[in-house]
């Protein structure tokens, strides 16, 4: 067996390197440097700036006057913020869970040597291509009891049909989940389909010879093998859930009342329409902390694993 070294970098260590050598050795880092510098400034610099802003008295525009923890006191005394976090929990869990379930389900169906795969695949994928600026109105109508599904069912003669979640403060957040799932589940399907196609056929043959039924092959062998896909899907969906903004604005505008407020809409409205930029920044800091709590352990385990 050969041991493949991970570092084909040539660094002459003892003799004086020529200028050309120096350039050649520094080149990869030089190529990476602009991107990294940009990320440092435009991501980490801005995060620091946001953190700083959350400790100021900024209202409409940034003011660099120290305000201590005032913005955080205000943030945590806003009932809206609690609603937003509770909604994120409901939305996040359902959105991620249902997207993965439906995405996996469709992917498994699509993997049964379906004849019309070329037609079906884009149908499941296309929602990802559309922004809610485009589809928002159609969704709003569809969910609106007076215009959409309920109305259609009534027209068809099913008078008792009721689907008024959009205008019901207790249920409105679930309509956001429905539209969100519609948009993202096709993408998840594609990820799972790719994962399914990547599984070694011999493993499945072996399982068939062992006498496993189709269901138990999926349950016991294929789905466990898809673990990395689950993880990727989770990360992709988690970040989309946290960033969801267009979705809510297009569908409910945060209402009825504040029933569909999410941290992202909260942050936007406090920063840009309520002129409480410090509170908006404080909420952004909270969101970033939440994201960090999810992402960093993932990154850590992921990068560590590959080390071995």
């Amino acid at each position: 067996m050969t041991t493949i070294e991970p570092m084909p970098v040539v660094v002459p260590e003892r003799r004086k390197p020529s200028l050309a050598d120096g350039l050649r050795n520094g080149l990869p880092k030089l190529v990476l440097a602009p991107s990294f510098a940009i990320i440092l400034v435009f991501v980490y610099g801005f995060i620091l700036w946001t953190v700083y802003l959350s400790f100021t008295t900024s209202k409409m525009m940034p003011i660099y006057k120290w305000g201590g923890f005032d913005a955080y006191y205000r943030l945590w005394s806003q009932p809206n913020w609690y609603v937003a976090m509770q909604n994120l929990a409901i939305f996040g869990i359902l959105y991620i869970g249902i997207c993965i379930a439906i995405g996996l389900f469709i992917a498994i169906l699509m993997d049964q040597r379906i004849r019309a795969e070329g037609v079906l695949r884009p149908i499941f994928l296309y929602p990802m291509a559309l922004s809610f600026v485009v589809t928002g109105t159609a969704w709003k109508w569809f969910l609106n009891p007076g215009l959409g599904l309920e109305n259609t069912m009534h027209n068809l003669g099913w008078e008792s049909f009721k689907f008024d979640w959009l205008v019901n403060p207790k249920m409105a957040i679930y309509t956001v989940v429905i539209a969100g799932v519609w948009q993202a589940s096709g993408f998840v399907m594609a990820m799972f389909l790719a994962g399914l196609r990547g599984i070694d056929g011999e493993i499945i043959k072996a399982a068939q010879i062992d006498g496993a039924s189709t269901v138990s092959i999926y349950r016991r062998i294929i789905i466990p093998l898809l673990r990395p896909v689950f993880l990727s899907a989770f990360i992709v969906l988690a970040h989309m859930a946290i960033k969801s903004y267009d979705l809510v604005i297009a569908l409910t505008g945060g209402g009825p009342g504040n029933a569909t407020e999410l941290p992202s809409t909260f942050m936007y409205s406090y920063t840009f329409t309520r002129n409480q930029m410090n509170v908006g920044s404080a909420s952004a800091v909270m969101m970033l902390m939440g994201i960090t709590a999810i992402i960093v352990p993932y990154l850590y385990s992921e990068l560590r694993e590959k080390n071995q």
Binding site: K59, M60, M61, P62, R74, S77, Q78, P79, N80, K140, N144, P145, G146, L147, D164, L166, V167, P169, A172, I249, T252, G253, G255, P256, G257, N258, A259, S269, F272, T273, R274, N275, Q276
Partner: protein
């Protein structure tokens, strides 16, 4: 894949992007506004053509959506970048907040020359000026405490217009009996607020409105009168149709126009919808002050705030400010928009009945001191307080808060936002 081609393409595209960067010509005004619909755009075109005659080109920067919230985001980005537009459509306290940032132009010379001080109502001047200096050119004055009635439905219900809340309830019951939606309402915060402020004015009168809304007095916000207000809101809620949530105001207006609903509480911009549907005031619809608010006017005025752009651009800016206050433009714009002119010296002959009534009410209220800023449109409280109050109002109307909870929450929310 041909890499060389791709890299050439990239370079070309980048070049193109650079060239596309804009350069401001001297005689140009860039105007940020959210009047993007046909009627408003047509009205603005009057101003645009007016300026073009004077050699000023109009660079349009429309940003619609969220009642101007997207526009405000864009404005922040532009101001932060040190590259503000020439003129920006702004409301109420936003004018003060922006002036406070020291980014406003000074229109004092022009205002002195054209005598704005004498013709623009003082209540409005309070916002058009910052620390005594003119910073904005008001375009119009809207009034929010209007009730729009479908004439046919009203006639069927007896034809008598309500003059107080009790009569309103009676009328709404009559509408309900006709099998139509009694009160057309769109469930978004600013519309909820518009309805609420009219109920406050009607319930407590102008003095209470000043105390509760303009001064945000905690006692007034949680007192018995306010309890009555919230009870009335709960009562009015029962006259809505089930799909009111999130509905645009103009769709509600359409319900009244089509006779599917009896009445709508809405600002005077709603008249534009009626006119475009070829309906006549007096014959097809009736516009009255919200019952119990006669003699008072809650106003909302669109203003073009002038930003400090310096140099040559300032000349074009002054020309634009002057053109906005030009009586001909005031008439042309406001007859389309449904509002009344921002200056009080303009003849009402070109205006219809509702417009004439609006102008008369405005003059009266202005002299009586009952011309007061609308909360829902940013003329009563700064954005933070306004939104905090709207939160409570909206949640109460949507049944998320009981009346008692709302009374407790309202002063708390105001305090927290201050």
């Amino acid at each position: 894949m041909n890499i060389r081609m791709i890299s050439k393409l990239a370079a070309g595209a980048a070049m193109l992007a650079m060239v596309a960067g804009t350069a401001k010509s001297a005689e140009q005004v860039e105007v940020l506004h959210w009047w993007t619909s046909g009627g408003e755009a047509a009205a603005l075109n009057v101003l645009k053509e007016n300026l073009q005659k004077q050699g000023v080109t109009w660079k349009d920067m429309p940003v619609a959506g969220g009642a101007g919230s997207a526009a405000m985001t864009a404005l922040r980005a532009r101001v932060t970048a040190g590259d503000p537009p020439t003129a920006v459509q702004l409301l109420g306290f936003d004018l003060r907040d922006w002036s406070e940032m020291g980014v406003a132009a000074n229109l004092d010379d022009l205002a002195a020359k054209e005598g704005w001080d004498k013709v623009i109502p003082p209540a409005l001047q309070a916002f058009s000026k910052y620390e005594g200096h003119w910073v904005a050119a008001p375009v119009n004055i809207h009034s929010t405490n209007w009730l729009w009635l479908n004439k046919a439905a009203l006639d069927k219900a007896g034809g008598k217009v309500p003059t107080n809340l009790d009569e309103l309830i009676t009328l709404l019951d009559a509408f309900k009996a006709q099998g139509i939606t009694a009160l057309a309402h769109g469930g978004v915060p600013w519309q909820d607020g518009t309805l609420w402020e009219a109920v406050v004015l009607s319930t407590g009168g102008p003095d209470f409105y000043k105390k509760a809304v303009l001064d945000a007095d905690p006692a007034a916000l949680s007192g018995d009168t306010m309890k009555k207000v919230f009870d009335t809101m709960s009562k009015l809620r029962t006259y809505f149709d089930p799909n009111f949530s999130g509905r645009e105001w103009n769709l509600s207006t359409a319900l009244v126009i089509e006779g599917k609903a009896g009445a709508q509480e809405m600002g005077d911009w709603s008249k534009g919808e009626w006119l475009r549907a070829n309906k006549k005031p007096g014959t097809d619809f009736v516009c009255i002050r919200f019952p119990g608010t006669q003699g008072s006017v809650l106003f909302n005025a669109d203003q073009f705030m002038m930003f400090d752009v310096g140099g040559d651009a300032e000349k074009a800016q002054q020309k634009m400010a002057s053109a906005v206050e030009n009586p001909a433009f005031q008439i042309a714009f406001n007859t389309v928009k449904g509002s009344v002119p921002a200056r009080t010296d303009i003849s009402d002959e070109k205006f219809d009945d509702c417009g004439k009534k609006g102008m008369k009410d405005l003059n009266e209220a202005s002299t009586k001191g009952t011309l007061m800023g609308s909360l829902a449109h940013g003329y009563a409280q700064p954005a933070a307080v306004k939104e905090a109050m709207l939160d409570v109002i909206t949640q109460h109307l949507n049944g998320q808060l009981t009346t008692d909870a709302a009374l407790k929450r309202l002063p708390e929310a105001v305090a927290a936002a201050k």
